[in-house]
Symmetry: C2
Subunit: 316 residues, 2 copies
Amino acid sequence: MRVHGAGGWAPEAQETLRRRTRRFASWTFGDEPPADAEVWVGSGFTAEHAARLPRLRAVVVPWAGPSRELVEQVRRVPGLTLHNLHHNADATAEMAVALLMAVAKSVVPRDRAMRQGDWGGRGRASSALLLHGSTALVLGYGAIGGRIARICRSMGMRVAAVRREARTGDPAWVHPVSRLPELLPTADALLCSLPLTSETEGLIGRREIGLLPERAIVVNVGRGPVFDEDAFFEALATGRLWGAGLDVWWRYPSGEPPQWPSRHPFHELENVVLTPHCGGWAEGIDEVRFRDLARLLRRLSAGERTANAVDPDRGY
Amino acid sequence: MRVHGAGGWAPEAQETLRRRTRRFASWTFGDEPPADAEVWVGSGFTAEHAARLPRLRAVVVPWAGPSRELVEQVRRVPGLTLHNLHHNADATAEMAVALLMAVAKSVVPRDRAMRQGDWGGRGRASSALLLHGSTALVLGYGAIGGRIARICRSMGMRVAAVRREARTGDPAWVHPVSRLPELLPTADALLCSLPLTSETEGLIGRREIGLLPERAIVVNVGRGPVFDEDAFFEALATGRLWGAGLDVWWRYPSGEPPQWPSRHPFHELENVVLTPHCGGWAEGIDEVRFRDLARLLRRLSAGERTANAVDPDRGY
């Protein structure tokens, strides 16, 4: 099977991929895919490529969330399938829980105070929420959401999750997204791992934020625009919500720093923990990524079904 | 049963305790215990009290860790038992995990950078450790340690724990403390919930820190002096350890701020997350405390065994 790695791949990465797939794949890398390429790995796939690569049958994005443009692009080519990787689901779920707990325990402001010799947080119950016995609502019951749910349950939280539509075999606490209006008022913590699709954009709008309990915690490791930027900022700035831990944003860096992640000053709020869309990264993650990519390619070469096919009608 | 609440109890607390125990306890509060007091609740118990209260049979500290002085004091009085509360075990275990994850994911420095418009942490795998698949070693397998172990397992960590001596019914991964030298080299994360006793003081000394893997994470929600202050600081400052999350310290506030928690500048290290011994506190925790205290007193009044008796020979 002829595989083309598009864009920039470090020499060591190329070497690792070639070694791990040598029994079933031959590779090319770079900006000029050969005319007989069968699988495209990477970003930058365009209509022009589709026209020039008659034997192409699969596009693989070696990360979790393909862009909507790519999903559209692939959908237009008959017979072409789109695949992604869940190699960073553990890392991303861990980041979600790290943010939840940092917010619940006021870790950042307490650390800042201690660095100034200020023990004011000692014995102040009002700086922390007990998670045990509270309720978590997980938005998106995929590879990441399932892991978040399991960790929250181990802390004695009640857990519910929503997904696009409930599936056979789902636990009883997994609900279709249509039940959000009933579930939001129970959510002491709302944890989002949703991809960005036409259906998830703005899913948590002003009305939905208003349905959350007073002083709920929101965590987002999915995509920023799932939340209404204006209503969400307002709920945090006014103290209507307890706080938020946000790894994903509405604006991404372009140009020189400082680069603010929203048109609102989330970065000035004490009750928000901000991280730079790094949830999926951790030391050693590339090892896991290459292992999972090699497994996916092996299944493609054998004509087997993969667990990583993206449904173009759903966008994930 | 005549119960004396020693020291300062807010009027609402007195009212709550009286209400919750009205079927079996009559209360006095303040600095002057009546001569017929049977149970002492609070701190400040002295030899003089022991001499003046002939009917006293139990001392209850309404928190987790009685001081060594109190343990000694009670041990000298024949027939007197000592009891503590585990009401804050969930909150403290949550703080331990919050610290573990904040350290593993560099939450504090990443948040600080984002507040300056700096996205440098994006896509930088070297700022985070994946906990899934790594090994946690829990020091102290009591109410807190057991909860920490459960949460770590839910994240896909391998977990071992040590306690003073293994007991019948303990899971296979719970070991006597004598096995520390074999276990420490496996511990990617070392989480301490140990009380301070003559046996735990300095338990993790220079040699033990040296046995930890390169770039291990240490979390302490037990008592500071379980760790050798000098060797521990050195291992963090030199980068021998990945980092530490510390809620308990060697020095506590006395006098005016700034009040530093150690004779070494832990508060200047980027790889340490500092909190002011607040793990056991959270909103609503007093409700849990009063509930658990009332249950304990009911068992004492009925002459039943309690799960909260402190063994004076062990000190916890």
